[in-house]
């Protein structure tokens, strides 16, 4: 039976790691987004959604994923918004384009446990595995 896309948090001495798996490279983006929110705590959306998009260029898929996550973190940190839905337009070796719906974070219902300083390059990886794609990264807390 095929695995569903998912994420898990894993330990790192002072910080926290996120591992995601999906059947395709593009399908990594949704669990990666949720994995980032899980590292922060329970980030609950509330209020009307607004369209959000990001287009990134580069030369390495793992770095594109890191840069995408940095944008999601900035959306949370700067505008207190959470992506309720993401749609990957393309995720090639050189480009990542994502559309999404960004909702205000419901501060009353959210439990913000950790302040994520940044998405680090430590143990940053995006690789093909037997039944799909796997990515890992560490967030600095």
């Amino acid at each position: 039976m095929a695995r569903l896309a998912h994420f898990e948090l894993f330990e790192h001495t002072a910080d926290l790691g996120v591992r995601v798996w999906a059947p395709t490279r593009a399908a990594l983006i949704a669990p990666a987004t949720e994995g980032l929110y899980a590292a922060i705590g329970e980030v609950v959306a509330g209020g009307a959604a607004a369209p959000w998009s990001v287009n990134l260029a580069g030369d390495e898929p793992a770095l594109l994923l890191r840069d995408y996550l940095a944008e999601v973190l900035h959306l949370f940190d700067g505008a207190r918004r959470r992506l309720a839905r993401v749609e990957v337009q393309q995720f090639t070796d050189e480009c990542l384009s994502v559309l999404g719906d960004a909702c205000p974070v419901d501060m009353g219902r959210s439990v913000l446990v950790r302040e994520i300083k940044a998405i680090t390059y430590h143990e940053l990886a995006l690789r093909r595995v037997a039944d799909g794609y796997e990515a890992t990264w560490i967030v600095d807390i």
Binding site: T13, A14, L16, V113, R114, T120, I141
Partner: protein
């Protein structure tokens, strides 16, 4: 968890261990780790020593790649790492050698209050500090700066906010570098970083940041303690925080900008997180200017929180903070890179000293030690966990000879965050600490569980190791009575 380090660690003496330059290709100098027999076993358990060896590969590194006893696994550089590079010999500057929280640091405020004055009011004091000093994930501050003021703050650091009324002129005299790195360049701070910093000056943040009400419970060096204004039974206040989102963004921007720079300068690195540029290159100067601006932001941040804490004490004891003797003892950075002069090979050279989770520790007589302390040396502030203690040390001449005037910065974690949460299941950390007489307030229980005392090394072991090595000397031990966790 990472694998244990399996490379060589040769004993040099009772407090130093060497990773020889022959360990891996590309090492330009030895790695040297400060630790006693007990700490070295913990240090071997992850890859931090490998990172010490990797840092030894940086162009222009001088002396040795150093690590303090509170070393643990970091990003590129280990936490507790020290590296000095010579800009005149192609030496590099690396954002990984400073860290994301630029000028994360500690300050200590003394008071004329005794334990007997404070103990009956400790819950009220802690509650009031918790309400007054914004803390927790992304909390904005009580003090807002417009773009023009923010740029001045980045250029002038603590001085700017003191002149705005947040503190005393005397605070500047006992802040490392006077709370201002003169060559800071706000033009090298991105709009996104400015945006993250707009309302965060005067906020504690999250993670291991704290404000702690303490009592001096041991004096190890009476002369230095007297010079610092510390005595047995006295109440002190310690603040640990950094440059908040602004500093994180300056580091993140730099790491992105520097991705392809090492190759451009023909620099081969064993780990891409050591991304760097020659100090004298345009890229190096850009990072240096932005990093210095973020460092100034951090000093202003701790200065505003000092002002807020003084207001809290003043309100509770119904006396102005001046009459409570709430004088700043010292403020020291432990995530920074600075250009400092050293005698190397019989020649005076200006080196770029990276301290990542490491504290400056200048000895008596050094011109950068405040005049009031110059006969004893610079205070070195070493916070521990919220259940045990923190230490005040004083810099010694051996630090100038062996560690580029540097010492440890804290306890260092031994338990991951997930392990700490698992270990706290079914327990109340808040109640456990209360049973020890320590009142704690935090935005949520999970964050408190992650920061529980058992998650850290015993800071007294770290203090003892640096004391035994001769790079710093123990002055006073501070026990927590009340803690605000971010």
């Amino acid at each position: 968890m990472s694998e244990a380090f399996s490379g060589p660690l040769e004993r040099l003496d009772h407090s130093r261990w060497r990773i020889p330059r022959s360990y891996k290709p590309g090492m330009r100098v030895d790695g040297i780790i400060y630790a006693d027999d007990q700490l070295i076993e913990q240090i071997r358990s992850d890859k931090a020593p490998e990172q010490v060896a990797n840092v030894a590969c940086l162009p222009g590194i001088v002396g040795a790649s150093l690590a303090m006893p509170d070393i643990h696994w970091g990003y590129g550089f280990c936490i507790g790492g020290v590296a000095a590079t010579d800009p005149d010999a192609g030496g590099v500057i690396s954002p990984g050698g400073v860290g994301y929280d630029i000028n994360c640091g500690v300050r200590l405020i003394r008071t004329d209050l005794s334990r007997a004055d404070v103990q009956p009011r400790i819950t009220a004091i802690v509650d009031q500090l918790f309400q007054t000093i914004p803390c927790g994930v992304g909390r904005g501050g009580r003090v807002k700066f417009g773009q023009a003021d923010l740029r001045r703050l980045l250029a002038e650091g603590s001085r700017f906010v003191v002149h705005k009324g947040f503190g005393w002129e005397s605070d500047l005299e006992v802040t490392e570098a006077g709370g201002c790195l003169e060559h800071a360049n706000p033009d090298f701070v991105s709009p996104r970083a400015l945006e993250r910093g707009t309302d965060q000056c005067g906020t504690l943040g999250s993670g291991n940041h704290f404000v702690e009400v303490q009592v001096v419970d041991e004096i190890a060096d009476p002369q230095a303690a007297a010079a610092f204004g510390l005595q047995l039974g006295q109440i002190t206040l310690m603040i640990h925080s950094g440059s908040r989102g602004l500093g994180y963004q300056v580091c993140d921007d730099a790491l992105k900008d520097l991705r392809n720079v090492p190759a451009r300068y023909g620099i081969e690195l064993p780990d891409r997180q050591l991304a760097c540029a020659p100090v004298k290159s345009p890229e190096g100067q850009h990072y240096l200017g932005g990093m210095q601006a973020a460092a100034n932001f951090a000093w202003a941040n701790r200065q505003i929180m000092t002002h807020l804490a003084r207001e809290v004490f003043s309100g509770i004891f119904r006396r102005p903070p001046e009459l409570l003797g709430m004088r700043l003892v010292y403020d020291v950075a432990h995530n920074i890179a600075k250009l400092e002069p050293y005698e190397v090979g019989g020649r005076r050279r200006t080196l770029c000293v990276h301290r990542k989770g490491a504290t400056r520790a200048f000895p008596a007589g050094h011109p950068e030690v405040p005049a009031a302390y110059r006969h004893v040396g610079q205070p070195v502030l070493v916070p521990g966990d919220m259940g045990r203690c923190s230490w005040v040390l004083v810099g010694q001449p051996a630090a100038m000879e062996h560690t580029f005037g540097t010492c440890c910065h804290g306890a260092g974690r031994v338990m991951s965050r997930t392990a700490a949460i698992a270990a706290a299941k079914g327990r109340s950390i808040e109640k456990e600490l209360l049973s020890q007489g320590i009142v704690v307030r935090a935005p949520n229980a999970k964050g408190l569980a992650e920061e529980q005392p058992a998650a850290y090394k015993d800071v007294s072991l770290v203090a003892e190791a640096v004391h035994a090595s001769g790079i710093s000397r123990k002055v006073a031990r501070l026990r927590p009575l009340g803690v605000i966790k971010g």
